[in-house]
């Protein structure tokens, strides 16, 4: 077996040193009647070539985004990632290292986490960000729990235009943590009255912008109303590239900002691994979940970085921790940081504008198809169209024509009664030909 260095002779010598005749003598504490006598019912070891063939066969049965005109978003976006990013994250000192518990030999990880935290804080216009969460949806659930700790209230209000899978994630945790959640009804055309939902028991109001339908939301009045009631505003985004062009939530009064960082540096990966972004105000930092890298000095006075404020965390505080999170998304955060460093502010702004222009063009073309109407008044790179019949069927028909057309809202919320709505995203990778092909094919199938 190519991954196992010990030879039969090595094993015999090692057993002799230990002083037992066979390796099974090391497993005697497993009750004898429970020990497996036969191997598990699985195939034997395979060479690299055989494994590669077997997995490539499975991979070949999927329609890849890069092979067709592709317009899906709803929380995961396809962008061009520079080749440098994937090369660098595969540097084995990054790839095969552990959580930086021994800072003297983990300065590489700690410094990039410090850079990541600074970039996320700058991008969201917040004061402090953590070293990442699993993804945007779990970050949102953690934000609600944090708001409960800060306000000592236990009722969260969720905007109706929050991505339904994010809403479901928050509801699951809340259900078992005995917290209350009020989810407002969706309003695809935007302009939700969120302020009316806030009362004196509200811990936080969770608002997504751009929302799941693509609408941009003015967070300022919501923040003011929340603060007046002693509640927090939790701002959510699922497309980090939007922040290259739209006003950041931190500039609009958000108290906690959470988002999905996948679209910078990370592939679609069928939904994971992604990277959750989590930022807040300095005054709430001790209620924050997750790891934090902080600056310090070594014994010779040189600048260095360590994991800090770990008295919030499970390995120190156990049942009194702010969260149970341990492993997060270090390598995806590194991909985010490298891609963001390559873009810089100038590149990010340009990238965001290209996305917006592609989406504006596509919206115009799709809205011109008979029977199709654009739902949004504002959007960034994703918008919603109303079709004359259920979007699930239309998407399936277009897939058969080799076009991955978008996400039916009903896929996210089958019970919402919004079956004819289709969420459509365009990024810098969608070409003018792709967009024209989509509009033409849509016209054909409707």
């Amino acid at each position: 077996m190519r991954y196992l260095p010990l030879t039969a002779e090595d094993r015999a010598e090692m057993l002799a040193r230990i002083g037992v005749p066979t390796v099974d003598d090391l497993f005697v504490d497993i009750p004898a009647d429970k020990r497996m006598s036969a191997l598990p019912d699985l195939p034997p070891a395979k060479g690299e070539l055989e494994v590669e063939r077997q997995l490539a066969r499975l991979a070949g049965r999927n329609m890849t985004a890069g092979s067709v005109p592709f317009f899906l978003g709803a929380g995961a976006y396809r962008h061009h990632v520079p080749a440098t990013v994937d090369h660098l994250i595969q540097r084995s000192e990054f790839l095969t290292s552990y959580t930086p518990y021994q800072p003297e030999i983990a300065q590489g990880t700690l410094q990039y986490l410090f850079e990541f935290q600074t970039q996320v804080a700058a991008l969201t216009a917040m004061e402090v960000a953590n070293a990442s969460m699993y993804d945007g949806s779990t970050a949102a659930a953690e934000a609600v729990l944090m708001a409960h700790r800060v306000t000592r209230r236990r009722k969260a209000v969720l905007a109706g235009n929050l991505n339904p899978q994010y809403r479901a994630t928050i509801e699951t945790v809340s259900r078992y943590a005995d917290d209350m959640v009020t989810a407002l009804p969706a309003r695809p055309e935007g302009g939700e009255d969120l302020i009316a939902g806030i009362d004196k028991d509200t811990s936080c109001i969770v608002v997504q912008s751009p929302d799941v339908f693509g609408n941009l939301v003015d967070l300022k009045p919501i923040a003011e109303a929340a603060h007046a009631a002693g509640a927090l505003l939790v701002a959510v985004f699922t497309e980090a590239v939007a922040l290259g062009l739209v006003e950041p939530p931190g500039a609009q009064g958000a108290d906690i900002v959470v988002g999905e960082g996948q679209s910078i540096g990370n592939a679609l990966n069928f939904g994971g691994p992604y990277v959750g972004l989590f930022a807040t105000r300095q005054k709430y930092v001790r209620q924050m979940p997750g790891r934090l890298a902080g600056e310090t000095v070594d014994a010779e006075g040189r600048r260095g970085f360590v994991l800090t404020l770990s008295t919030r965390e499970q390995h120190i505080r156990r049942e009194k921790a702010t969260s149970n999170i341990c492993t997060n998304s270090g390598l995806c955060a590194l991909a985010f940081t490298i891609h963001m460093s390559l873009l810089g502010e100038q590149g990010l702004t340009k990238l965001a504008r290209l996305n917006h222009e592609a989406a504006c063009d596509l919206a115009e073309q799709l809205a011109a198809v008979p029977g199709v109407s654009l739902v949004n008044t504002s959007f960034f790179n994703e918008f919603t169209v109303r079709l004359p019949r259920p979007a699930v069927d239309v998407v399936e028909e277009l897939a058969r024509k080799g076009i991955l057309a978008g996400v039916p809202y009903a896929r996210l919320a089958p019970a919402a009664g919004l079956d004819n709505l289709l969420l459509v995203a365009a990024t810098e990778v969608t070409t003018a030909e792709d967009r024209a092909a989509f509009a033409a094919a849509l016209k054909e199938v409707l």
Partner: protein
């Protein structure tokens, strides 16, 4: 190993003049040891390492929500970015650098085939919400991974969505809470042995359980009598790590599970140490109701400096109806996903733990590892891991103090700090001295049940020569400690990119992001 100058033997006569101390360099660099500033010090806002076409301009559907201020994000050209991050990488220690015996973390070899497979466009370049008809291969891979996990554990069901071990724990404990709720029970206590990982009590507390500790008995395992004494109609579950964090198999686990079940509670097993028992025992046969499996430990998906991981949960028949969504459903050879609570036919199902369907990139890597090893290779891997841990323990017992050594170790060897008594040297000092010897330290001060714990998990990836050198280095350190050579320890590490870092200062006045320095006073003044 260069031992010259350590005073153990008389130095050989020098034929050349004694070297003078190394001079300071102008740059602060030391040949291949290169210092690197922060991105914000080397980057500039007007620079970008990405060439994009010029936007056409004109289109604006932002509805007045456009950004009004600069963000302050510097950029790097591509050569600068390459150099910046390569230099940072060189300040890190990884499995590929050397032995990484971090107990409880299973830092084994990460095959590059697995990286290559995860990057096949058919896995990496597909969207989670594509029509299921266009991702049958991806769903088939998830089904195959599920089949392997069930074959190795003997359990009734597996939920793939959890994103890491602690997320898997949360899922499993929620399934237990859901099952109690469905039965109309409001049990509010979870029993957790003192030796447990911190995530166990944190998880139980997160969903409102009161945590009660079970003390370990003198031999480092859990006493069934202690569990029986703690069980009551208030107890919802026992969370037990097996093999436990002392590196021992809980030999009374069957009796403990029976007692837990007799009291109407469930048995949650922390699967962090699954690497010790692959192909040796099925956890279903031990009475386990739920167990998470860290794909980034046992199945070798890279740790990546702290993630991403994946933490699928296997469930017993009793808990299977409470599994989260999404779940795979096979009908007439076609795979689909049950994505909504209730879609699985179980009204009590947990619901959704996160957006989308789990850590696909990790699923591909883990399955590639399993296919490569096969049934025989996986059992061999466990046997070699256990053999290596026992070999390390047997080779150090005379110099270090190994509690609970009357029982065989599983895949990790536990030492305490009794052997350091009177030396003025602590467990932490030993860890830092190991850094100077070119090793990542073992896990220190965990588990909490022994004083100054050192938990060594060599894994199956080390050759005998590698283990022998590691053992020799630790023996040398032990003899130096006992001989009073404190300088090797108290000032360590001497040769790492940084000397010991001031963690107190970091926590007292936290600096968690870069800020622009105050402008220097005008030179003309």
């Amino acid at each position: 190993m260069n031992r010259e100058g350590r005073g153990a033997t008389a130095p050989a006569p020098l034929s050349t003049p004694a070297p003078t101390p190394a001079p300071e360099t102008f740059t602060g660099n030391r040949a291949l040891d290169l210092e690197e500033g922060l991105l914000f010090e080397v980057g500039r806002p007007e620079v970008s390492g990405v060439d994009l076409p010029a936007p056409k301009g004109g289109a604006d559907r932002l509805g007045g929500h456009g950004r009004t201020a600069a963000l302050g994000l510097p950029g790097l050209s591509e050569p600068e970015a390459m150099r910046h991050y390569v230099r940072l990488s060189r300040m890190n220690y990884g499995i590929d650098s050397g032995l990484f015996p971090l107990g409880s973390c299973t830092m084994k070899h990460n095959p590059r085939l697995n990286e290559k497979m995860a990057r096949l466009p058919g896995f990496a370049d597909i969207h989670p919400l594509q029509p299921v008809s266009t991702v049958q291969g991806a769903l088939a891979l998830m089904a195959e991974l599920s089949r392997y996990l069930l074959a190795l554990t003997g359990m009734a069901a597996v939920a793939l969505p959890p994103k890491a071990g602690a997320h898997g724990e949360l899922t499993g404990m929620m399934a237990i809470k859901a099952a109690h709720m469905a039965a109309g029970s409001s049990r509010h206590v979870v029993l957790v042995p003192e030796s447990a990982h911190g995530t166990n009590p944190a998880t139980a507390a997160l969903i409102g359980y009161e945590v009660r500790a079970i003390p370990a008995r003198a031999d480092g395992t859990v006493d069934p009598e202690a569990v029986r004494a703690a069980l009551s109609p208030e107890v919802a579950a026992l969370m037990l790590t097996n093999p436990n964090t002392c590196g021992l198999f809980e030999r009374d686990v069957v009796e403990i599970a029976a007692a837990v079940h007799a009291a109407g509670a469930y048995f949650y097993c922390d699967g962090a140490n699954f690497n010790a028992i692959l192909g040796k025992v099925k956890v279903a046969d031990l009475g386990v109701d739920a167990m998470h499996i860290n794909l980034h430990k046992t199945f070798s998906t890279p740790h990546g400096g702290g993630g991403p991981g994946a933490g699928p949960v296997v469930l017993s028949q009793a808990l299977a109806p409470f599994a989260p969504v999404p779940a795979l459903v096979e009908t007439d050879g076609t795979l689909t996903l049950a994505e909504e609570r209730g879609d699985t036919g179980a009204e009590q199902a947990l619901g959704r733990m996160s957006a989308f369907h789990g850590q696909m990139g990790m699923f591909v890597r883990a399955l590639a590892w399993m296919l490569s090893h096969g049934a025989d290779g996986m059992r061999q891997a466990s046997e070699d891991a256990v053999l290596a841990a026992n070999y390390v323990r047997a080779s150090l017992m005379d110099l270090l103090s190994a509690p609970f050594a009357e029982r065989p170790a599983m895949h990790e060897a536990l030492f305490d700090d009794t052997w350091l008594a009177g030396t003025g040297i602590s467990t932490l000092d030993v860890a830092k001295a190991l850094i100077d010897e070119g090793y990542h330290p073992m896990t220190v001060y965990f588990p909490l049940v022994v004083h100054g714990a050192m938990l060594i998990e060599p894994t199956e990836s080390e050759s005998k020569a590698s283990l022998d050198l590691f053992i020799a280095a630790l023996r040398d350190l032990a003899m130096a400690a006992k001989a009073g050579d404190t300088e090797r320890f108290l000032g360590a590490p001497h040769y790492a990119p940084r000397r010991r870092l001031d963690e107190t200062r970091a926590a007292r006045a936290p600096v968690l992001r870069w800020t622009a320095p105050e402008p220097l006073p005008d030179a003309a003044e």
